[in-house]
């Protein structure tokens, strides 16, 4: 498998506070990685930094995607390369419907004009997978959506945009059992259809049940504390993080 993302010795700070202290990890094409760690370890920071959030400054190291250094690129350039982040708490944007936003986004990312009819067909199919009522397409983006609906809307975007790398930042948190199942179905569909890579930030296994985890990273206090295979997830859930973070 070829290397899709390679993060080397990454130092990241926000508001003059260093949050990541030399993180390295690499993700191969088509693989599924899990990122775990206690609250405040820097998991979301890492996800947002890979996506190019201007809130964070890279003070050392670099991020290479498909062999190219993207450390200095803005978020939209990264999105065009095929990086996607499912936000933990997506913003609400009044006046822009989910459907018009997605069409705009899709055209920007693919650089191709898409016929309205084709777009609608694709959107309808994706919404069916996620048991989303078709009326959501004409609602303002995330406005008045429940927590679960917002997460579904993120996975809908994943299915529509078909990125090469999808970072899922606690997509399963705050969801009931059925909603996790639905969201997992969407992620499965994405994997099956595109063969894309996943970096799943999570606290539990439900969302991982239908996925073959290739690699697990444990982040603690801004550093990688342990790395291993799928068995690491089980171990953490049974025994906690203590032995990995030196407590």
């Amino acid at each position: 498998m070829s290397e899709l993302l390679k993060i080397s010795d990454l130092y990241v700070s926000a508001e003059e506070k260093e949050l990541l202290h030399g993180v390295s990890l690499s993700i191969e094409s088509g693989s599924t990685h899990v990122l775990m760690g206690p609250n405040g370890a820097g998991k979301s920071t890492l996800g947002l930094t890979i996506m190019g959030s201007p809130e964070y400054t890279v003070s050392g190291g670099n991020i290479v995607f498909e062999g190219e250094d993207i450390t200095g690129e803005s978020a939209y350039e990264r999105a065009k390369r095929g990086i996607f982040l499912s936000f933990q708490d997506p913003v609400e944007i009044p006046g822009i419907t989910l459907s018009e936003f997605l069409r705009n986004s899709l055209e920007q990312i693919t650089g191709k004009h898409m016929k309205l009819w084709d777009f609608k067909k694709k959107l309808k199919a994706a919404m069916e997978i996620l048991n989303m009522d078709s009326s959501y397409a004409d609602r303002d983006l995330n406005v008045g959506f429940s927590g679960g609906e917002k997460k579904k809307s993120e996975i809908l975007q994943l299915l529509m945009l078909e990125p090469k790398l999808a970072i899922l930042d606690e997509t399963d948190s705050g969801l009931d059992v059925d909603a996790v199942k639905t969201v997992s179905k969407g992620i499965e569909e994405y994997k099956a259809r595109t063969g894309g890579s996943l970096l799943v930030i999570t606290h539990n296994t439900r969302i991982l049940e239908s996925l073959d985890v290739d690699r697990t990273h444990i982040l603690s206090a801004g550093k990688i504390a342990a790395q291993g295979g799928a068995e690491l997830v089980e171990d953490v859930l049974k025994n906690g993080f203590d032995k990995y973070i030196g407590k």
Binding site: P54, F84, I93, P94, S105
Partner: protein, 469 residues
């Protein structure tokens, strides 16, 4: 690759174009009784109108300059040429419209627009109505759509005009209303008979041309009982370098159970003083709906007033204001509840950027007799940077305890988080910001006819272009 432009560099060529005027078309600067008399003679005014003009001039000279709003000190009214006579007279056939004027209109897309289901176009070029065409079916329904000057000489409407003209906005209202009364020129007269519901909107385009020219068009619309009309007023002005003035006047009479929708997009060039007065009188069960988009101009004072004068009368005002660099736009609305069970609803959005100042000013007056009335005011402002300003000045004067009055105001900025979210979906920073602003303006553009909504979206795009860097 980032484009770095400043707002002043915006290519406004689509909107800013003008043709040279002959010197001898001007009647001269400054305002005297002689000029007003000459103007009146040239317009072939009936005697009452000549007297009205002189009376207004008198009031104008006695009235103090407006001092409570944005500064208009730089405006030298005496310097502004109040009237420019077009060489052409009224035309009803597009083929007879002079070539340079036609070119201006064609640049504005009027003939095409007309083909697209416009009922009639009354276009004002400088001060004269040069093109006026009402489709036959509109005329057959008994609807009158013509210029005010011709209508004054038509015995069928003469009395009607005399009894309505500047009765809602008297010359004593403020200095620029007095000025308007003295030098008004051009504009539209619409009369909709009882029971006639016009499905297609009537449109008029106003334009200013010639350096230093003021525009004082007058719009008078009378709707009889149970009638309906949608009137669309669009304005754009070419760029020129002396201070320009627009002091138009709109008077709307909405009869019993009649409904009038009055939509406007104003896009003045950025040296204009837009001191416009608009007022509607609504009878029992009648309804006025205002949709107003204010772009451009250096300084604007614009507060359409609705007087709810009969039981159950209603008013709705939906407005958006966009103030960019060097602009001070003071806009809002006034609602006067003067009868029981009347209702008013105000929903405005204002955007300011690059140091622009946008002030929302509203007044709701509920008179003692207006028991059971309802009023709701909602205003939202969006500031696109740290140097722009947004103010809200709501006033309420409620004289009965049997009324339901609400006010809501929100002031916000575009959050970095929202911009990042859109960028993470492949949308550039500039497009993301424009998208957010368009979303913010969405409830207003939804109220506009399609081609105007598109124009407004284009205007927002144009104003947003180069806002980064």
């Amino acid at each position: 690759m980032k484009e770095k432009t400043t707002v002043a560099d915006i290519d406004r060529s689509r909107y800013d174009f003008r043709f040279e005027e002959d010197e001898n078309d001007f009647l001269g600067s400054g305002l005297t009784a002689q000029i007003v008399n000459e103007l009146s003679a040239e317009k072939n005014d009936p005697e009452w109108m000549r007297e009205f003009r002189l009376h207004s001039l008198d009031i104008y000279n006695k009235t103090k300059m407006v001092e409570w709003g944005p500064s208009i000190d730089e405006l030298d009214v005496d310097k502004i040429v109040t009237y420019i006579r077009q060489k052409s007279r009224m035309n009803t056939d597009w083929n007879d419209v002079p070539e340079d004027i036609k070119q201006t209109f064609e640049n504005l897309g009027i003939p095409q627009a007309e083909q697209e289901s416009l009922a009639g176009v009354g276009a004002q070029y400088d001060s004269e109505l040069v093109y006026h065409n009402v489709r036959k079916e509109v005329a057959q329904s008994g609807v009158v759509y013509t210029d005010l000057e011709s209508a004054m000489h038509d015995e069928r409407y003469a009395e009607m005009i005399k009894s309505h003209f500047m009765k809602l906005v008297p010359p004593t209202d403020h200095k620029f209303a007095a000025l308007h009364g003295a030098v008004w020129s051009g504009g539209s007269f619409v009369y909709v008979p009882k029971g006639v519901k016009l499905e297609i909107p009537l449109q008029s385009y106003f334009r200013l041309n010639a350096k230093g020219a003021g525009q004082f068009e007058h719009t008078l619309i009378i709707l009889e009982e149970d009638s309906y009309l949608h009137f669309i007023e669009g304005c754009s002005a070419p760029k020129y370098y002396e201070a320009g003035l627009h002091a138009g006047c709109v008077e709307l009479y909405v009869g019993k159970n009649a409904a009038l929708r009055y939509s406007t997009i104003e896009n003045w060039s950025k040296n204009m003083y837009n001191l416009n007065t608009k007022r509607a009188l609504v009878a029992e069960g009648g309804k006025i709906e205002w949709v107003s988009g204010s772009f451009g101009s250096h300084v604007s004072y614009l507060y359409p007033m609705s007087i709810l004068n009969g039981e159950g009368a209603r008013a709705e005002f939906t407005g958006i204001t966009f103030a960019g660099e060097g602009q001070n736009l003071d806009t809002g609305a006034k609602m006067i509840h003067n009868a029981p069970n009347t209702s008013s609803y105000m929903n405005t959005k204002s955007i300011s950027k690059s140091g622009g100042i946008s002030t929302f000013r509203s007044a709701v007056v509920v008179k003692e007799n207006a028991v059971g009335s309802k009023s709701s005011v909602s205003c939202e402002s969006l500031m696109l940077d740290g140097i722009s300003r947004s103010d809200t000045v709501p006033a309420m004067d409620i004289r009965t305890k049997y009324a339901d009055v609400g006010h809501e105001a929100k002031i916000g900025r575009i959050s970095d988080e929202t911009v990042f979210y859109l960028m993470s979906r492949g949308i550039s920073e500039q497009d993301a910001r424009a998208m957010i602003v368009r979303g913010f303006a969405d409830n207003v553009s939804k109220e506009l006819p399609l081609e105007y909504a598109m124009e407004m979206n284009n205007l927002i795009g144009l104003e947003m272009h180069g806002s980064i860097g």
